[in-house]
């Protein structure tokens, strides 16, 4: 105890934590206000709305899983190469050659868990009527986050480059061919012709845009890799910042009037 006390008296400790132990009102406020991470929260919250039975902590868990996936994803990126020659082998190596190697497992199961937790979070928000004014916009941001979560998962699905990956993405992306007016087999696309020339064909339609090719191939793998590792997490992070900011600006987590 004495030791700890001396640590807390050093210049180093004091340079990091600029307030006393969070045991009184002032220092509890400072504990939140002076910390860049904690100050996502307000100093005080409605008692009823932080009950586990009220929020189920689902939004928080979703965010936590996102962080876990970011960390494990970065680790996987050190070894995984997104090319047709190497991708499958790299995954096999990650799976079999790494001592204590649960990195791929944590990433994969965490991704499944995040999809479930984001649905349950939405379910909770709906059941408590928390989408109602003034929280309409945050609900919309939430729906976008839901879509991004699914897209993250979907783009990641291709990366192992096994049969499951290739055919799930083939089937999934084939639906883009049927986009009205923008896919080769979409309703109405046949009307978009200049004389004899089809304006929208397999070489420039919505599916081609998605896959960077006519089939799921090398270009698709690279494209999904970039989407999965950079583009979608980037957009999702921004939207999460908006989501959290809005929770506070809309009056904190909801509660009865």
């Amino acid at each position: 105890m004495k030791k700890l006390f001396t640590v807390k008296n050093t210049q180093i400790w004091k340079s990091i934590f600029r307030h006393g132990p969070p045991e009184d009102r002032r220092n509890r406020s400072l504990a939140v206000l002076a910390n860049v991470f904690l100050h996502l929260h307000p100093v005080k919250v409605r008692s009823s709305s932080i009950r586990l039975r009220y929020t189920w902590c689902m939004g928080g868990l979703t965010f936590f899983l996102f962080l876990v996936l970011t960390v494990t994803g970065i680790l996987l990126m050190f070894y995984y190469r997104p090319t047709v020659e190497y991708a499958y082998g790299d995954i096999i190596d990650l799976r079999e050659q790494v001592p204590l190697g649960a990195m791929r497992e944590i990433h994969r199961w965490g991704a499944h868990a995040m999809v479930i937790s984001v649905w349950l979070h939405m379910f909770r928000v709906f059941m408590t009527g928390s989408y109602k004014p003034p929280r309409e916009f945050n609900w919309v941001v939430g729906v976008l986050l839901l879509v991004l979560t699914l897209l993250l998962s979907f783009t990641g699905y291709l990366l192992p480059w096994d049969q499951l990956a290739m055919w799930a993405v083939t089937v999934g992306s084939n639906m883009a061919r049927a986009t009205p007016l923008m896919g080769t087999e979409g309703p109405g696309t046949a009307l978009l012709v200049l004389g004899d020339v089809k304006l929208v064909h397999a070489g420039n339609d919505a599916r081609f845009f998605l896959l960077a090719g006519r089939f799921v191939g090398a270009a698709t793998l690279l494209r999904f890799y970039v989407l999965h590792c950079i583009a979608i997490p980037f957009v999702a992070s921004i939207l999460m910042a908006v989501h959290f900011w809005r929770i506070r600006k809309d009056g904190g987590i909801s509660g009865p009037l």
């Binding site: 089937v171 061919r177 845009f209 960077a212 006519r214 089939f215 270009a219």
Partner: protein
């Protein structure tokens, strides 16, 4: 100074403050036309930028098997058989019925899986959602909304069969009567 109201008033077409001295000064109207030009230029630049970013996502060069290839001599194909030797590389089957030869794309018209030719059951069966097609390519079961597609087939100068996948013939559009969609030998 400016305020929104004065912007609007000038926009609506009229009225300038009179200049009291002769020093060459930026007039309000002059300034606004600069703003307008600047705004247009900015919009154009932003639009061009977005367009080029969009276009950027469509690759110019594809690393896929060529669309046109030679498939050997007609005599190599047996009557009443579906030939699967090109399926792996080029995703087409070549079918011969009597003296009629045609090439079907091995892409299911439902969601683009690769069907299999089941020779005992005499049908193409898609493993993904169970669509079935007769040897002619006509769909008869499962969710596939239309028959398989034929691709262009012709004889090259050396007598070999020439398959050109850039051109597709759809039965439901009546294109199978097009002489380029089959070969009579």
């Amino acid at each position: 100074m400016w305020n929104v109201g004065s912007f609007l008033r000038v926009e609506k077409g009229f009225q300038m403050a009179e200049k009291s001295d002769s020093k060459p000064e930026i007039t309000r109207r002059g300034f606004l036309s600069w703003v307008r030009a600047g705004w247009i230029a900015f919009t154009a630049a932003a639009a061009t930028g977005s367009l080029s970013a969009f276009r950027f996502m469509f690759p110019n060069v594809l690393f896929e098997p060529p669309q046109i290839f030679k498939a050997g001599f007609p005599s190599e194909y047996a009557d009443g058989m579906v030939d699967t030797r090109w399926k792996e590389k080029f995703r087409v089957w070549i079918v011969r019925e009597g003296n009629l030869i045609y090439a079907l794309r091995s892409v299911c018209t439902h969601l683009g899986c690769t069907p299999n030719w089941l020779s005992t059951e005499e049908k193409f069966k898609c493993p993904c959602h169970g669509s079935g097609f007769y040897i002619s390519g006509i769909n008869f079961e499962g969710p596939a909304p239309r028959p398989l597609e034929r691709v262009r087939i012709s004889l090259a100068e050396d007598g070999q069969i020439l398959i050109d996948q850039t051109q597709i013939f759809q039965q439901e559009k009546g294109q199978w009567s097009n002489p380029e969609s089959f070969l009579i030998i």
